[in-house]
């Protein structure tokens, strides 16, 4: 293995750990860009294998879709970055109108790349299409207590609602350790919370919880444990 290859491998694993310097990133990109480079193919394959291993270790869904082409196409089809940066700067300093126009370009790329990522990843993660292939491991969806600091007063004691139930952020940065995996979003419509009475919501939640507990006591085979879960006894009789 040549020195160049060794350096590339080191850079690649640094990039994988999100610790690559600018020079290392440039080294990889340069190699990838070189035409007829056998190393480029190897790097791509290695990159893919690293992610496969990382996904397998963290029990994530493994995607076989390669988005790089789609993302590259989107970037290619956008002209704004092809303009000489100097020209761009001059035109910005010119009129206010051209400023608006030139800044819309990068935003459009970001938006369309995000769209590709969302559609692609949801396609992989959406388990509803393959109902018979129940995955052995699903994404952990343990809402941590820090996240569940919603309007506590709206719910019975001990109950909290996360604020971001309906709106989910989608992150495409899959290799920085923190994986924000998009889930299929339940068919909920964003609604104006002010329309709802807190009292009604609290009563409704208490009602379904109490009913669930009493059904569970009959069906769970766990003796009287489900009764112990009932939070608010007053609402049971309402």
């Amino acid at each position: 293995m040549s020195d160049h290859e060794n350096r590339l491998n080191e850079s690649l694993s640094a990039l994988m750990d999100n610790e690559a310097s600018d020079i290392e990133i440039r080294r990889i990109l340069k190699e990838l860009n070189a035409e007829d480079s056998l190393l480029a193919v190897e790097i791509r394959a290695k990159w893919w294998r690293y992610h496969l291993a990382s996904a397998a270790i963290s029990k994530d869904a493994i995607s076989s879709v390669d988005y790089s082409r789609a993302i590259a196409d989107v970037i290619d089809s956008d002209n704004s970055h092809k303009i000489n940066p100097l020209t761009k700067m001059f035109s910005r300093s010119g009129t206010g109108a051209s400023l608006g126009l030139s800044s819309a370009g990068p935003f459009a790329i970001a938006a369309s790349v995000a769209l590709v990522a969302v559609l692609g990843v949801q396609n992989v993660s959406n388990p509803l299409d393959t109902a018979d292939q129940t995955p052995r491991f699903v994404q952990l969806d343990e809402m941590t207590d820090e996240k569940t600091t919603g309007p506590a007063n709206q719910f019975p004691s001990g109950w909290q609602a996360p604020l971001d139930t309906q709106a989910r952020t989608v992150s495409a940065n899959g290799f920085n350790g923190v994986r924000q995996y998009p889930h299929p979003i339940v068919d909920v419509k964003q609604t104006n919370k002010a329309e709802y009475s807190e009292q009604e919501v609290r009563l409704y939640l208490a009602d379904i919880l109490a009913k669930h507990s009493s059904y569970a006591a009959l069906h769970s085979n766990q003796s009287m444990l489900p009764f112990a879960r009932i939070e608010s006894y007053e609402t049971v009789s309402e």
Binding site: A131, T134, L140, Y204, I208, S214, F227, R229, Y233, E234
Partner: protein
Amino acid sequence: MRIRVIDLLKKRIKLAVIMTAIFTCGPSFSQQSDPAYDLMVRMIDTSKRLNYAGLVTYEKLGNLKSAKILHLVRDTEIFEQIVNLNGPEGEFVNSSGIKGKGCQNPSVMFERISPLKINDAVYVQLKQSYSIEAAGDARIAGRDAALLMLRPNDAWRYGYIVAIDKQSGLMLQSVLLNLSGKPMERFQFIEISVGGDLDSMDIPLGSYNPEISGRNDCELDDSPRKQYGLEWKANWLPTGFVMTGSQLDRDGGQYSMVFSDGLAVLTVFIESAETSVKVPPFLAKSGATVALVSKIDVDGTFVTVSVVGEIPGDTAKRIAKSLIRVPDSVKNS
């Protein structure tokens, strides 16, 4: 020579018959050979047959609750009472007939099935959903108990550690573990008495709310004949979950379906238009219990559909998403 061939054939057929017999007896064969599952099935059986009373603690999110429990079984009736001992005063009573003793509320369409449905089905259900293994011994409420570790076979449900009284077979402790193995709630007896005077004790009267018990009396049936009343169905459920009952309540305004995998229970509520407009979609969680309230577009109007259960949020979401309204043509066919 010919005779010997026939003999050989006969032997083979015998062997084949024996093998077939072994395979067809497969479930009961394996059932006998797995003491952990046997212990679990015994626990389920005794928890519904025995008279017991005691003190329990219930721990969740760092809070400890203590309560007094009474469980009495008579010929036609099960009486269950839990009284809060700390925090706000409260009492919950469930008094119900073992075999639906008739509904007081005419709006309730279904009768309740026998909770004493302990058979191979539970065993098979547990086997599908959890791998159960013995995890040593423990001493709980002053009694010797066997510990069982119930690991979920997939990540659509939680795991448990249960302690079962060696003498009576009752569950003395249940710890529910999240998907990464951390305890989310602990239910534990600190004192328990089984049988004895409780076997002849009269069922307490006057302490319970007839409205609640009336509701519970009229609960839940899974007989296929009555399934024609179903308008909704879940297209997806985790392996092992089956519908154990359904009910139309609140003067026909709320339809609920109960599903269980033998241990975990989840309830799906489908609300009337009247209730639907009052409740926003949200997801709330407390300890192991998740309540997902979502809206489904049915012919232009949003119907509120709620999934409540001791299940991971993802499971609730996937079930909610899989709910469909069964077309009339299918219902009537």
